[in-house]
Subunit: 335 residues, 2 copies
């Protein structure tokens, strides 16, 4: 048990490259009719469908994505030392993903997949109302297995952060449990983000078991926490979670966030000011980045929450789910 | 000789993917000291240097680029029917480049390079003053050869548009001559963009020979035309060009453009209004797009120039060298 772990956070998540294109409402309607694409939701697609959809969609812009990887980009931007575990293929997009994390000073040494699927990608269609419809081909990400869980790395981090989206694969669930056990054996914390209400729907009992047995810090938005506890209103869901985890950081969009820390302590965090909301993607990812930075630096819970809303406010003021400026600078200005 | 060619423009150019990253002045200064990188200029680099520089530069955003390909994206956005000839490799970036052109309705059937170099890329470093420093690894683009010049395609287009940057390779020069001869044999026009004053410096006598013998419409900015005719002031360069080509479309940044049409006719085109200049990259490419759209639709020279400044004003008002909205819609609003 190390008392001064050299890393703040090691994240386990999907390694994805985003392909972002502007599209019309009609295009989404056609894709809905033909393929059941749900506007505003995240749909998992296979490679054949990814090739087909890419062939039909407009010209795009490529950038590294993945929910937990976005969080680590924000965490590094605050000045945090972290690492990422996730599976790319040995191809151009994989090298782009790898470059973009490493260039932020993050450790990322998961062995790329040599044979098999390509690097995963998320085809994101932005309609004129600024809503995003995501179509994810997980690709090589699917192949993340317990063999990729670097236990030595995990024992070096104060928090091991798990991405809920990975729950869509069985061997990734095993990898999660293994990572959580390694973290706890070293006396460190395990955090989980639920990622998506539909993902929670698909795996509710498994998520509940994981939260109950392995998770210290839970990140969720309003829809996700309601879905997990099958509650119709937020307050009931927030009460339900309090006995299961040490900390639940619950984000509520324009209402800010509520941090539940033990059964009786609800900290209400107001949203940080935003001049103009351009693109809400990444708000949850960056809230987690700010919160985890504060937490691993030993700040109090309210300050952790405020760092979360600060980062979330920044990321929604521009296109893309990763920081548009240095969060360390933002923090200095705010202080 | 077809009197109604089905295509407006076929462009012959570099097939490049841009990798755009924000960087500090210090980074450029270090790269200048160690590798002679010139701030604001375009430097050609080899694959080893591209890998080295990419490894050092910050996280980036990838999107399809290439000067003539950017022009074709603008031409298609106006509603023009066009085609592109250029060489990608059989890799992910090549498929991205191909997808992005085809998704705009452009024909692009040049055979990808199977063995050898990767798809070319341009590593673009943006400093806080909004200046761009470009580092181009031409990759597979270098392999464009006379064999890739689809003469049947060229005979279908009113204008064959050649990208000056391709002059950095000998076999591409041969491909240029071949394309120009095929266009003229079919009774159509040949256009050339000079691309870069340094490129003109490297190949002045070849450029002069090409312009003299094969070019009907010449696109150049102030620096390029001064470099080509080794003149210190713009007016002298504009006078010098008039006897060499049918039309010279000369762009002058915030001063708009001058169209030289025969020895005595200088049309002065004022710049179109811009609320805020965000990124000047692509201004020349999109001026050419507007001008060529007007020209191939049979509009008068002044209107062609106005369409050029309209497109240039749009592209400099956002990041990236390709249209941020439909130019056909822009044209409707302006009318």
């Amino acid at each position: 048990m190390s008392s001064h772990p050299p890393l703040g956070v090691v994240a386990v998540g999907n390694a994805l490259v985003d392909v972002l294109a502007q599209t019309s409402e009609e295009f989404i309607a056609e894709q809905h009719a033909a393929h059941g694409m749900e506007k505003g939701a995240m749909t998992l697609i296979d490679e054949a469908r990814a090739v087909d959809l890419y062939g039909q969609m407009p010209a795009g812009v490529e950038s590294s994505g993945g929910s937990a990887a976005n969080t680590m980009a924000g965490f590094a931007s605050f000045g945090g030392h972290g690492a990422f575990i996730g599976k790319v293929a040995d191809d151009e997009l994989g090298r782009i993903f790898q470059h973009d994390l490493r260039s932020l000073g993050l450790k990322f040494d998961t062995q790329p997949l040599i044979m098999g699927a390509k690097t995963g990608r998320c085809l994101i269609l932005v309609t004129p109302d600024a809503q995003r419809t995501m179509n994810t081909f997980l690709g090589a990400s699917v192949e993340l297995s317990p063999l990729d869980i670097d236990e030595a790395l995990i024992t070096q981090a104060r928090v091991t952060y798990l991405e809920g989206y990975l729950f869509d694969r069985d061997q990734a669930k095993q990898a999660f449990i293994m990572a959580a056990e390694a973290a706890h054996a070293a006396g460190h914390r395990v955090a989980l983000t639920l990622s998506d209400p539909f993902c929670v729907d698909r795996h509710r009992s498994d998520f509940l078991r994981l939260v109950e047995n392995h998770v210290d810090i839970l990140f969720a938005n309003e829809e996700e926490i309601k879905s997990l506890f099958m509650q119709d209103n937020f307050e009931d869901a927030a009460s339900a979670v309090s006995s299961h985890v040490e900390i639940a950081a619950l984000t509520r969009s324009e209402k800010g966030a509520v941090i539940v820390n033990g059964e009786q302590k609800h900290h209400i965090i107001p949203p940080a000011p935003v001049t103009q909301v351009i693109d809400t993607t990444g708000a949850g990812d960056q809230f987690a980045a700010g919160f985890l930075y504060g937490f691993t630096e030993g700040m109090d819970i309210e300050t952790c929450g405020k760092l979360g809303t600060l980062a979330a406010a920044e990321v929604i003021s521009h296109m893309g789910p990763r920081p548009g400026c240095s969060y360390a600078d933002l923090l200095k200005k705010a202080a």
